[in-house]
């Protein structure tokens, strides 16, 4: 490991909400029913968002379906433990694009609370990886296939 491996660890984003439903229902609506509540204003596809789908199993895809039928990846299921816990890989960058190399974790816990209530605790962590990927993306742009390479090619042609 090089010296940059000692990094700033930003605090995870933590949110919780208590819903009037048992854990099994809260889990089901959060996962299989995600298309019914996911904010429609946020989408990756060029076309309008039709729905969002989480395949209900370990390793399942998490993706968007646009009105034109196009599918865009959001991430995948890392832990599938109904009705208590699900961990999703969130693989969208800050400009809302899918990056297969970026994996940040969203853990959601469903905790029974009183008669028919569930506390849903969400933690979105590994936020420092957004920074890592920004650096990698820039390295690609600076790399042989990016603008730098193009300029070298141009220099070579010009020198002939």
């Amino acid at each position: 490991m090089n010296e940059t491996s000692q990094r700033i660890q930003p605090a995870p984003v933590r949110k919780s909400v208590t819903v009037k439903a048992p854990p099994s229902r809260a889990f089901e609506v959060f996962t299989s029913g995600i298309g019914r509540w996911w904010p429609k204003s946020h989408h990756i596809s060029a076309a309008d968002l039709q729905t969002v789908i989480i395949e209900p199993r370990l390793g399942g895809r998490w993706y968007e379906l646009a009105v034109d039928g196009a599918e865009c990846e959001v991430g995948k299921v890392l832990v599938w433990d109904p009705p208590e816990r699900v961990v999703l890989a969130w693989q969208l960058t800050g400009d809302w694009k899918y990056d297969p190399e970026l994996v940040t974790e969203v853990e959601v816990r469903f905790i029974a609370e009183g008669e028919g209530f569930t506390r849903v605790e969400l933690e979105h962590r590994d936020l420092e990886r957004f920074g890592d990927r920004a650096e990698a993306t820039r390295a690609q742009i600076d790399g042989p296939s990016g603008w730098g390479g193009l300029l070298q090619l141009f220099a070579g042609v010009a020198a002939q």
């Binding site: 000692q6 984003v13 009037k20 439903a21 609506v29 904010p39 849903v120 957004f130 920074g131």
Partner: protein
Amino acid sequence: MAYPERSFEALADPTRRRVLERLGAGPLPVGRIAEGLPVSRPAVSQHLKVLKDAGLVTDRAEGTRRVYQIDPEGLGAIRAWLDQFWAVALEAFQAEVEKDEETDA
């Protein structure tokens, strides 16, 4: 709210990451941050300005010096963005779960 892309851009620079790591241990004046870094003090000031604009660090005057520290909220803009997003999403989720419950009742 700061735009998240600015945080990513700010973090993409290795020197700026070094500056942030140095501030990880606590607030420091510019002179101390610059010690041991392979860039000039004015360059460090410039990097600090970028970090500040991206919402990653804050500064305050201490006598004649300017002291910088990491935004106590963490990596400001990234967290602000996700915090806001999940707040809106969970509110919609709650409404949906409870709507279901009423339908079934």
